[in-house]
Amino acid sequence: MSVSAVNENRKSAATMMGYLIVFAGAVLMLMPFWFMFVFATHTSSDILSVPPPVWFGSALEQNLQVLFERLPFFWNNFAMSLYVAGLTTVLNLLFCAMAGYAFAMYEFKGKGLAFAIVMGTLLLPQFLGLIPSVLVMSWLGWLNEPRALYVPAACTAIGVFMMRQYIASAIPKELLDAARIDGCGEFGIFFRIVVPLLGPAFGTLGLITFIGSWNNFMGPLVIMRDMERFTVPLALRALNGMGDVPWGAISVGSALATLPMIVMFVFASKRFIQGMTAGAIKG
């Protein structure tokens, strides 16, 4: 009796310790976000003081002013990020659903090989084709054009894989056969019957595509030349390189760049996590 009580006590002490460590870790994870929002409301001289501010100040408007002074095209950059991420997402959903549907529902010659190629491309790192891709873009006359960002990303292998898994598990083949007997064509079946059933998969893949494009840095870095056409991450980096570093403006700019993602994450964290772990669990 007493032994088990001691054990219980020791166990709960260890558990309490665990809670404490997990909590401290969570604080560490959130700390940069906290200081990003706090610094966004302080002037640079406040931020430079020792110790630095830990609670919100009143210089938000001033920082925004500095931000727009140094980056006169900030809203263009924001719109560019939205435009590229939005188009990438729409195209990726459409093309991945098409390919995933073919792999899930049809038997055709060369299917195994085609699918192996799709999965094989996942092993190719982005940097490998980076240099010649820039050349391809310059030959096409696409340098400095947003289409150089959304066209190559319009059908990703991971998206095809996710769509195939979802369609194979969620849509019965009998449904398609029934539609065929009723005289519906192959493309009609896809657009009128399959696509409306893909809501959850579209949500998951859409989120991870949008966020990947929104945060993309390497692509815009080698493609976009005019500051007017920069995406938000590029614009923020440009802010960093200018003489005295405007910390307040950098913080408010970073906050504007991350806030949409944080809000989306808070409302759809489950779907996010599902999407970003899907490849690992099933693969």
Partner: protein, 328 residues
């Protein structure tokens, strides 16, 4: 034989008009899947495969893109030879490996125990905490690295202020340094970068482990606790062996993504790699060779050597796991 058979079967169709026969032979159902998968293959061909093949070709040329396509000059293996004997490349590769190891090992040490604890000790708050740990993974690297830049600043940074504050307590003054640490100097820069990488990816790996742990049937835990197993024993003898495939996956990710690291150091110290080039990674070296020095041939050779290096390490990892008897 079979030819004859099929002809015999098709015989009635011979009577029907040719158009109808052709239509039957090439039914929509047969060619539709090719239409459906064509966008992927067209896009991959143009923007994936072609650049890849072209970069093999480029790796054997000496070429400054500013002087036009005709200025290309075949140099054989010279680019590879040059890169492999180039101290800057070897240093950048060393930095890359260093940062990968120093960020990945703590990542693995934290992630699985953390996932196990979240799995066993939390119910209602599990999703909240895993969400918090996951948050760094979905935020813009550029934005967050800029914020870290200010937090790591020598004279006014949050981290140095915290150390000073902790050092102001009696006894603790012997533990914490009295002078501000320069987090961007030769000694600390790689640690700083590794910390940011650790911060960004630990949550993702934790969530992966959490998902793997949730697939373990509860009976195993129940049976073992009836046999008197402690939580510690359950961790080592049930959780760890059961998540081994995920362990393989996350270590592969550590290798593949770690060795490609580019954005964090690039934003933090710029393309030069900071003091003593301590923050210059192999991918950054490739970038600067191509877009600063305008030497596309050498840069392509760097890209392929880095790819081979990653592939070899990943294969070694695969062998180690295969040997230790991982079965899926």
């Amino acid at each position: 034989m079979s030819v004859v058979d099929s002809r015999a079967e098709e015989a009635p169709a011979m009577v029907a008009p040719t158009v109808k026969r052709l239509r039957k032979k090439y039914r929509r159902q047969d060619w539709a899947p090719y239409v459906f998968i064509s966008p992927f293959f067209i896009l991959f061909g143009c923007f994936g495969l072609f650049p890849l093949i072209f970069s093999i070709y480029l790796a054997f040329q000496y070429w400054d893109p500013a002087s036009g396509l005709n200025a290309m000059e075949y140099v054989g293996w010279e680019n590879f030879y040059y890169v492999l004997t180039d101290e800057w490349f070897l240093d950048s590769l060393y930095n890359t490996v260093w940062i990968t190891v120093v960020s990945s090992v703590p990542m693995q040490l934290v992630a699985l125990p953390l996932a196990f604890f979240l799995h066993t000790a939390y119910r209602r708050w599990r999703n909240v905490f895993s969400g918090i740990y996951f948050l760094p993974f979905i935020t813009s690297t550029v934005a967050i690295t800029l914020v870290f830049n200010s937090m790591f600043s020598k004279d006014f940074g949050v981290f140095n202020s915290m150390l000073t504050w902790l050092g102001s307590f009696p006894l603790l003054e012997y533990v914490f340094p009295s002078d501000n640490i320069d987090w961007f100097d030769q000694e600390h820069l790689r640690w700083t970068i590794a910390f940011i990488v650790w911060w960004r990816f630990t949550g993702w790996i934790t969530v992966l482990y959490l998902a793997a742990l949730q697939t373990i049937p509860n009976d195993l835990y129940e049976a073992s606790s009836i046999d008197g197993a402690s939580t510690w024993q359950q961790f080592w003898h049930i959780a760890v062996p059961m998540v081994k495939p995920m362990l393989y996956f996350t270590i592969s990710m550590n290798i593949i993504f770690g060795l490609q690291i580019f954005e964090e150091p690039f934003i933090m110290v710029g393309v030069t790699g900071g003091v003593g080039q301590m923050g210059k990674t192999a991918a950054m070296h490739m970038y600067s060779t191509a877009f600063v020095d305008s030497d596309f041939g050498t840069a392509s050779a760097i890209a392929w050597l880095l790819f081979l290096f990653i592939a070899v390490i990943a294969l070694i990892n695969n062998r180690i796991f295969a040997k230790s008897g991982m079965e899926k």
